[in-house]
Symmetry: C2
DNA sequence: CCGCGTTAGTTAATCGATTAACCATCGGAA
DNA sequence: TTCCGATGGTTAATCGATTAACTAACGCGG
């Protein structure tokens, strides 16, 4: 009662393995008669035949596996959604994901690429957990690849990143729509792509509305709750405090909530807050719920796989840089200014 | 400039592919001379030879890949640590993880097992995201497997689950050590293994200390923040409220914090709180930091892979059921009762 | 000097598919 | 009648390793 091979199916159907192979895969054009094909299929179903993809892969050089290289799969809560999006899109096309976590070590990345290539994966997804500009390791050679939440400086590789500008405009529109003009921005000093775009977009909007933004910006060291708390204390203790804050991310917003509570400011009555990331255990769980621009990790994962599959079909296709929209998750942290 | 094959290495070293294979893999006992072996190795290094594991897998029936089937990789924040633990242990042994997420659909699980077996994975990790008792699908056949955060009723498969009893005793000891006797328990109505053990252990401890626990238990529908809030309101509004609460999990504890704030109870001055899970974005970020029993997901992931590798070496090894300790993450939510 | 064990290789089979190249039969057009 | 193009297959090569079975040369004891 060993696992049936193609030869067993062929014997049961009374044909050669070549015929069986063509019948099951619908290859070989007109060579296989309809009746024969049905007979082979029936035999395969009867025996519970499942092709050995290792053998197939050796011959065809395609393994129906995609390598996913992430720089920190576990420690960031976003990773899950990104992996899931990639996983689902891959699965729908009959592919499986082979995962490697490099814990952010660039040397690891080269090793990871080699380990995946040894296994003859059909393509590679290179993911970073925060929107970044990176260089694709040379070792990747001619293996098809797509960047996820990252892009190259020269646009030589297909990539998908969040539309940070659009997302920022979205949440700022919530505030201006409610009547706010003096909108503070609380950001981090960390030098990441996301920070730069969110900051620039905020500046641009305030300038467009003729608001002096110089004293409305507070920058703290890290993008964490505690830093957010301290930054908010600095921003909100002033007499001419803003009526609304746009936070770099949800964790910092969490700190702003605490600061507001300590200062006796009610949200959204005394202070409206919007933020970025729409992070699972934070934005919806805060009280009141935090309006935040959602990072579309699931959709980016899906897009990346579909783009990779496209490049598998047509290796010479021109690389595409995609901006994925960041929809506003509207909750109750915004109201008209008093 | 195509990828070098073993035959290229062999030619460069002036030997047969058989010799080259044996030299590189240190197989074949004494048949390969030291000098020849070094020559082959040098040639391989020179050419940058990397074995084609697909071809190797076809012959040896081992692919150096482990299947990881999870029932909800993305939506639970624990998954990441579990995957990471498994990933790291696998990587150390030269294995890679092939991931499939079933989104909790049992029919998917069968499909997932088949998809992995087609690819000749060496073994399977079956993970659930909450400690459960499950049945191993028959389709797994003789493929070596280990259960992660789950176990079978009959102990027929190796498995690793958190030591819920030990973890509960640990956080309760924090409370009794500080002098608390009337310790409330806030739990969920969901029927999961973890709930039952945590509840039973809490009862047992209170009984051992001669405390009447009948009016100290509050059960709510779900294990979410809002339910925790409502449950806490019920428990804490009473005159003879407990001086400390043991929450089923951190999300519920988050609700308790909010309730305490509304009722004007300071933590830990008026109310000490301990909990379970030590969830990343919650326990350390709450103010004051929440003392919580940590679910050792990373370590469970590691253990499962090591156990799987052991079973690969010795398929007849007796299955092992392992309880992984849940260390107490001690923070500042506990103080002596007033 | 014969036979045998050791040492150090080689040759060829094998894993389980896919696919290029080849072949037989039949009906109809030239 | 003969040749040709479909139609419907089969045979055998191939993918790139591993490994069982075989072999050649050598040294040594009896």
């Amino acid at each position: 009662m060993t696992k049936p091979r193609l030869a067993d199916v062929a014997r049961a159907a009374g044909v050669s393995t070549a015929t069986a192979s063509m019948a099951l895969n619908d290859t070989g054009g007109t060579r296989i008669g309809a009746e024969t094909r049905d007979r082979v299929r029936a035999a395969a179903a009867e025996l519970g035949y499942r092709p050995n993809t290792v053998a197939r892969g050796l011959r065809t050089r395609r393994t129906q596996m995609i390598g996913f290289i992430g720089d920190d799969v576990a420690t960031t809560p976003f990773a899950g959604q990104m992996i899931r999006g990639a996983h689902d899109a891959a699965r729908e096309a009959g592919f499986l994901l082979l995962m490697i976590d490099t814990s952010g070590d660039p040397a690891e990345t080269g090793e990871a690429i080699a380990a995946l290539q040894e296994r003859q994966i059909d393509g590679i997804l290179l993911a970073t957990m925060y929107h970044q500009v990176i260089e694709v390791p040379k070792g990747i050679g001619s293996t098809p690849h797509v960047l996820l939440d990252a892009r190259t400086a020269d646009g030589s590789a297909s990539s998908v990143v969040p539309d940070e500008r659009g997302g920022t405009l979205g949440v700022l529109a919530e505030l201006t729509g409610a009547g706010h003009t003096r909108i503070g921005h609380l950001t981090t000093a960390e030098d990441v792509e996301a920070r730069a775009i969110r900051l620039a977009t905020w500046r641009e909007r305030l300038e467009a509305n003729g608001i002096d933004h110089r004293d409305l910006l507070v920058e703290v060291e890290h993008a964490l709750t505690l830093d957010g708390y301290e930054g908010a204390m600095r921003m909100l203790r002033k007499e001419d405090r803003p009526t609304a804050v746009f936070c770099y991310n949800d964790r910092m917003a969490m700190g702003v909530y605490r600061a507001a509570a300590e200062l006796g400011l009610s949200i959204p009555g005394d202070l409206s807050i919007v933020s970025y990331d729409d992070q699972e255990l934070i934005a919806p769980e805060l009280f009141p719920g935090l309006t935040s621009a959602a990072l579309p990790h699931y959709e980016m994962g899906r897009w990346a796989v579909r783009e990779l599959l496209r490049r598998l079909d047509d290796p010479d296709a021109a690389p595409v840089q995609h901006l994925m929209p960041c929809p506003t998750a509207r909750r109750t942290s915004v109201a008209a200014p008093r």
